[in-house]
């Protein structure tokens, strides 16, 4: 399963970004192999509608789950249309890999 995580850097050791539409990177991680693709977010500089544009990117990358801090209304509606599960509330203090492991653990239980 592909999981998208908003990140402040291009590796699994980077901290999670609390921002969605204006985060620096999206990490698209395959949860079975932990292999990932880092995509820099053009939305960081966009004047408007960065959230839905970010949602579009994640949808087109084939992610099924999104881990982030906070997702705005317009982005949320866009993601829901495509059936993507949103897991909110991650803080900028944890690493991407820890956030992933935590999510996968809670999912197992």
């Amino acid at each position: 399963m592909k999981i998208a995580v908003t990140s402040t850097g291009g590796s699994l050791d980077a901290l999670v970004s609390e921002k969605f539409g204006r985060c620096q990177y999206f990490l698209i991680v395959d949860s079975d192999t932990m292999k990932f693709e880092a995509v820099s977010n053009l939305g960081e500089q966009m004047q408007n509608n960065a959230g839905p544009k970010a949602a579009e990117l994640i949808i087109n990358k084939g992610a099924e789950v999104l881990l982030s801090g906070h997702v705005g209304d317009k982005a949320e509606n866009t993601l829901r249309k495509a059936g993507i599960k949103i897991v909110n509330g991650f803080t900028g203090n944890e690493k991407v890999k820890d956030a992933l492991n935590n999510y996968l653990k809670t999912k197992e239980n």
């Binding site: 966009m46 408007n48 509608n49 960065a50 839905p52 544009k53 949602a55 579009e56 949808i59 087109n60 317009k74 866009t78 249309k81 495509a82």
Partner: protein, 293 residues
């Protein structure tokens, strides 16, 4: 002849000044371009005679033709379209009706459909002032297309007073540009001064001659006086910070209808502006002639 009234900071008295000017000019035309919050009608009390819809064009997608190639998304400067690969989502409030998506769609799957953006109201006051204002629908991101429609009511045979939205962004620029003169209304406060400087930058950039009106005038606010003296900016009118003016205003009475002194000052103000516009026109013609020679 078109005189716009702008401010930078909100709440300095644009509408008070604009409506007062319109009231002292026989057969004037009052145009309220503050379409997000028009309030000129509260002071001038026109009888509305007509209300028209103003539309903007939005793309509609024919899914029998669309193959989700994404060209429309690529050409949209405003991120108004999102490609879900099974649906093209439109964020209508972001759309600027530029038509690029329709023009570039390889499948001809896009048609532009009109959608109401706001209303344009026309009316006339008891004293014969022709009154126009725009009323933007809630949630619309840009007021510019509606402002253009309202400004189309300018009557070049008459004196037009345009009430501008506050601020110095697109809607203020659209309102003030091509005016013969712009009155910048400020107040004797640090906020008033800060935003006056921004507004002066704008009108200089778009080459509109301007003058300053200080409302709620307080001579002890020295920063304002220093700035105006240093930059040789003329103050065309000072309206005192006076409880009587505020009380009358709260009852919908303009200062020009409450005080003979202020009325005379506004009549003087309009005469000065007319002179300035005439001398500008003469200068421009002279320049043109020199250029032609």
């Amino acid at each position: 002849m078109t005189i716009s009234v702008a401010s930078g900071k909100g709440g300095t008295g644009k509408t008070t000044v604009a409506a007062s000017l319109a009231s002292v000019i026989p057969q004037s035309v009052y145009i309220d371009c503050d379409v997000e919050e028009p309030n000129g009608h509260l002071m001038l009390q026109p009888k509305f005679t007509l209300e028209e819809s103003v539309n903007k064009l939005l793309p509609e997608i024919d899914y029998n033709k669309c193959d989700f190639c994404g060209k429309c998304i690529e050409v949209c400067e405003f991120n108004a379209l999102i490609n879900l690969k099974f649906e093209i989502l439109l964020f209508a409030e972001m759309c600027h009706s530029c038509g690029a998506c329709e023009y570039f769609c390889p499948q001809n799957a896009i048609t532009e459909i009109p959608k109401e953006l706001g209303k344009l109201r026309s009316g006339i006051t008891e004293n014969g002032i022709k009154f126009y204002d725009g009323l933007l629908n809630i949630g619309e991101a840009t007021a510019v297309p509606l402002i253009r429609k309202v400004k189309a009511k300018i009557d070049n045979e008459k004196i037009n007073i345009i009430d501008s939205p506050p601020g110095t962004s697109c809607s203020m620029v659209e309102t003030v540009k091509n005016s013969d003169f712009c009155l910048l209304v400020t107040e004797s406060t640090p906020f008033g001064l800060n935003d006056l400087k921004l507004a002066i930058d704008v009108v200089k950039n778009i080459n509109v001659p301007f003058g300053v009106v200080i409302n709620k005038y307080d001579e002890t606010f020295e920063e304002m006086e220093n700035y105006l003296t240093e930059n040789q900016i003329e103050v065309m009118l000072r309206i005192p910070f006076d409880r009587k003016i505020a009380e009358a205003y709260s009852n919908g009475i303009l200062p020009v209808n409450n005080s003979d002194k202020i009325r005379r000052e506004f009549i003087g103000l309009i005469a000065t502006i007319k002179k300035k516009i005439k001398s500008n026109v003469t200068q421009m013609t002279q320049k043109k002639q020199i250029f032609a020679d």
